[in-house]
Amino acid sequence: MLKSWQFWTVMGVIAGLTALFIFGFSVNPKVVKSPLVGKKAPAFSVRELNTGEPLSLASLKGTPFLLNFWGSWCPSCRDEAPILEAAHRKWGQDAERFRVIGIAFNDTPEAARAFAKRFGKTYYLALDDEQGTITLNWGLYGAPETFFVDHEGVIRHKKVGAITWEEVEENVTALLQAAEAR
């Protein structure tokens, strides 16, 4: 027969393990929080896919932006392509106010251009280098991934997987409100 303190110790251990078990099942193992959220965006420098126009993080100072990583080989990128184009048409027409930027990786210029043409992408598109410098600096797991960066260059949100219109609207609205409130 267990003494009182032994009984409550065992009960406490079982309760603790049960709570840990429940917590574990409540967490989605596919969702890994990025350590970059809340931190300054890593620097990058690219050239536009067709025109060669340069763009860097430094040149975006004071402008919030959406940075989408994609590839012509990526099926989910096809699903979100119209959403990103619509976001550009709604908020990105004034480049001083907001930018939509797409960086393809593990891709070729020809395949990336063909993809952009097929899905009617008109916003700024570029290609990461063969070493994946920007890809690794931004901590990518795969494609597509979308980052929302505020006017101070701080990453506010990261989405892994195809983005929805609701997510774009919610995050872009927040970024614009923060920029206008400064």
Binding site: V32, S34, P35, N106, G132, T135, L136, G139, G142
Partner: protein
């Protein structure tokens, strides 16, 4: 020689010996090609493939893993330490990019808990065993106690025996 001069001479000799020792001390060794390769292999084994998360970067052929391998190789060639290289990836991907948790902070729990659990269980079993041995009944008395029958039980046994004999 006065005491002050003796002390000055001793100090000068000590400094001269120290300087000489330092002059002949080996310079910090750069890694050899074999050591760099071993370091590279160790790091890519310890990093998790971001795409195929069940695999190490070393075992994965995913494009991102290939790029990580290239990056690690360049960083090793640049002379960066294992800690600095791993810190680079942890800062971008988080702790989960390391296949083994760090032995500090919350990661320390993972390292310590299993061993601690085994020690506690072994200790508890040991205590129970000792307690059971202390309270184990005297073997000589046991048979006597087991065979001790109360008068009521004897009466009942006799009654039941008579019933069975009557049935025969």
């Amino acid at each position: 020689m006065s005491r002050l001069r003796q002390r000055a001479a001793a100090l000068g000799l000590a400094l001269a010996l120290l300087a000489g020792g330092l002059a002949f001390a080996p310079a910090a060794q750069a890694l050899t090609g074999q050591e760099k390769e071993a370091l590279y292999q160790r790091i890519i084994e310890d990093l998790r493939c971001p795409t195929c998360q069940g695999l190490s970067v070393r075992d994965s052929d995913a494009p991102l893993s290939r790029q990580i391998k290239d990056k690690v190789r360049r960083m090793v060639e640049e002379g960066q330490t294992e800690e600095a290289i791993k810190a680079f990836f942890v800062s971008r991907y988080g702790e989960w990019i390391l296949r083994a948790p760090k032995n500090q902070g919350l990661g320390l729990v993972v390292w310590v808990l299993p061993g601690l659990g085994m020690v506690l269980v072994a200790g508890w079993l040991g205590l129970r065993f000792r307690r059971n041995r202390k309270h184990k009944p005297d073997e000589a008395a046991a048979p006597a106690e087991a065979s001790a029958i109360s008068p009521e039980q004897r009466e009942r046994i006799a009654r039941d025996r008579r019933r069975f004999e009557e049935l025969d």
